[in-house]
């Protein structure tokens, strides 16, 4: 029989993982909700930001917080570039082609990373203590990352609800024809959305590199999970994605402890498939 303390530790780790996954999913979900295109390569952009932080910290000895800020800027820049170079020409193409164009980007980023930096796993070591609470060990790094992730999500929420641009972005996602009639320019809003979504990737990259090692195929490891969280929460539904991330993280973390790491993921994916049948619009969608 499994010691309950391990189970409790798995639950706590699941919550911490949930924060990171929610951050990943929110940026992607924002882009999806507004532009209606799934960026298959989104997590690969996150991996590029992780590389940036890694090299700034280990090679040039920058402080972590400064490298993190650079990572956010770089993420925003990448988002804009992807939008201008790849998404803009295919905005009116069939969805399959849009999906595949960013899929091509996935191949490109992964192999280009292999070419430049080889397949080595790289991570930034941060000397921080491990907390012990009632027999449970919690890494302080992960706790910090969790707190910052929540902070970033609150910032995104405030941006979307309290600013003029944010309101316009939400309006586009509701009706892209009507917003053009209201005098806003959807193209400009798309660009802003891509930049904000990219910046979220930058935040995620900075927070992930202190917990996980980055390698060229990092995007493939977290990518499918990120899409599933977006779909589960309802594509474009921010609050839904947030909770879906915690549900999936719990399944993976607890399932991983009870059975095995792979089976944790298998169970999570099967739950996703079944939930899609039961609630096709996401777990928080109202039945039409």
């Amino acid at each position: 029989m499994l010691d309950p303390i391990f189970l409790l530790e798995a639950v706590v780790n699941g919550i911490l993982l949930g924060g990171v996954l929610a951050l990943l999913a929110l940026g992607l979900n924002l882009i999806f909700g507004v532009i209606d295109i799934v960026w298959i390569a989104y997590v690969d952009l996150v991996a590029l930001c992780m590389y940036a932080v890694y090299f700034l910290v280990t090679l040039y000895a920058w402080p972590l917080w400064l490298a993190g800020l650079v990572s956010i800027g770089m993420g925003a820049l990448l988002g804009v570039l992807v939008h201008l170079l790849i998404i803009t020409p295919i905005l009116t193409s069939p969805p399959i082609n849009q999906l595949l164009a960013t899929g091509g980007l996935l191949f490109f980023v992964q192999s280009f990373a292999t070419l430049l930096w080889s397949t080595d796993h790289r991570s930034v070591r941060v000397a921080m203590p491990t907390l012990e609470v009632g027999g449970i060990f919690i890494s302080f790094t992960r706790l910090l990352a969790f707190a910052l992730a929540i902070l970033a999500m609150v910032a995104l929420y405030l941006f979307l609800t309290r600013t003029y641009t944010g309101t316009a972005i939400r309006a586009v996602s509701q009706d892209r024809e009507a917003i053009a009639l209201m005098g806003a320019r959807p193209q400009r809003l798309y660009l802003v959305t891509s930049a904000v979504g990219g910046a979220m990737a930058g935040v995620a990259g900075a927070l992930l590199i202190i917990q996980y090692a980055v390698h060229p195929y990092f995007g493939s490891a977290f990518g499918p999970l990120t899409f599933m969280i977006c779909v589960l929460g309802g594509l474009g539904n921010m609050v839904g994605a947030f909770f879906a991330a915690f549900i999936m993280a719990q399944i993976i973390s607890v399932g991983g402890v009870i059975v095995s790491t792979e089976m944790g993921y298998v169970i999570a994916f099967v739950v996703f498939i079944v939930l899609m049948f039961v609630r096709p619009g996401g777990i928080f969608a109202r039945r039409a």
Partner: protein
């Protein structure tokens, strides 16, 4: 006989005599590349049976993987000849496809959602293969064991590549024939109507669920057969090259690159991607690892942006437009 048909026949004869041509020291390698093109085109064709009707599956890696692994594992564990093992693998895959496909159709999981559900199925199969490493070999893959004194006709392992050349050619032609039969059938009109609008299709009396299940089962069965043949030819199966998101995307890429609404589109796309991959691999060799794939990825993006109907599809469109202006256009999917 039209000139087009004559050219096709000529090309077929040329393909059939390639193995007897003296190609010098590179002949084994050329055969190897062509066999792969045949088998992957066959798989691509199977995918396009669903893809062209708007059932964009990113989970064909699952079907490929089950086909390949079931065939290999039945032989390794029970000594079951692939003559029986491969059909069993195909049957198993059809069951899997229906188990996933039926709820998808019943609950109207379409579009992005269908793509992501199938993607999850592909990942589940890949992760299960990795997790059950005791008997599947895990991420190291599994080798088709040929130790023992069984005849080649029983284990379907041939040291002569030409056997698989003709097997591959036959499989590819069979795939084309199936595609052509579907293209000429009532089912095609029904499926196109379903792809445009399910509710409208149902309202004019099309049995939506039945047609969807039939095309899904057919596509999955052919993909599993392709997986079994690939595993037999390579005598090896690996979860990363035979299941999961990577291989699923590769199949879809090749087909979309060539053009998924045309008979030879999957072949053109597959031949091009494999030839390009091989060329870049030889050109760059072991220096600059990743260079070949980098160029491949870039080209994919460029092709999808500038030739959205695929290479063969775009060419065929241009050709048709020149010959007969009011032609049937490739159905656009919004």
């Amino acid at each position: 006989m039209t000139p087009l048909r004559a050219a096709g026949l000529l090309a077929l004869v040329a393909l059939a005599v390639v193995p007897v041509l003296p190609l010098g020291s590179a002949q084994e390698y050329i055969w190897h590349v062509v066999i792969q093109i045949f088998l992957w085109s066959f798989v691509g064709n199977a995918w396009s049976l669903m893809g062209r009707f708007g059932l964009v599956s990113l989970g064909h890696g699952a079907f490929l993987g089950v086909g390949a692994y079931a065939t290999v594992l039945l032989w390794n564990a029970y000594g079951l000849t692939p003559w029986i093992g491969a059909p069993l693998a195909v049957a198993l895959t059809v069951v899997l496809a229906l188990v996933v496909g039926y709820p998808c159709s019943r609950f109207q999981v379409v579009g992005h959602y269908f793509a992501l559900v199938t993607l999850a199925v592909g990942e589940v199969v890949r992760l299960l293969i990795v997790a059950e490493r005791d008997w599947t070999g895990g991420s190291l893959g599994v080798t088709f064991q040929t130790t023992g004194t069984t005849s080649a006709g029983w284990s379907l392992q041939f040291s002569d590549k030409r056997v698989f050349y003709y097997v591959g050619l036959a499989a590819w032609l069979f795939g084309l024939w199936v595609w052509w039969r579907v293209d000429r059938s009532m089912a095609r009109s029904a499926m196109e109507a379903i792809g445009e609008d399910e509710t409208a299709a149902a309202s004019v009396g099309i049995r939506v669920a039945r047609f969807k299940m039939a095309i899904t089962a057919l596509s999955a069965a052919l993909t599993a057969l392709g997986g079994a043949l690939l595993a037999l030819y390579l005598a090896y199966a690996n979860p990363d090259t035979m299941a999961g998101i990577g291989v699923s995307l590769r199949i879809v890429f090749a087909v979309v690159l060539g053009g998924m609404y045309s008979l030879l589109g999957p072949f053109v796309g597959t031949a091009l991607t494999i030839a390009l991959g091989e060329y870049l691999r030889i050109y760059f060799g072991i220096k600059l690892i990743g260079m070949a794939e980098t160029i491949y990825g870039l080209l994919l993006i460029v092709f999808i942006i500038f030739l959205p109907a695929g290479i063969y599809g775009s060419l065929a469109q241009a050709f048709r437009r020149r010959r007969a202006p009011p032609s049937r256009d490739v159905p656009a999917r919004a």
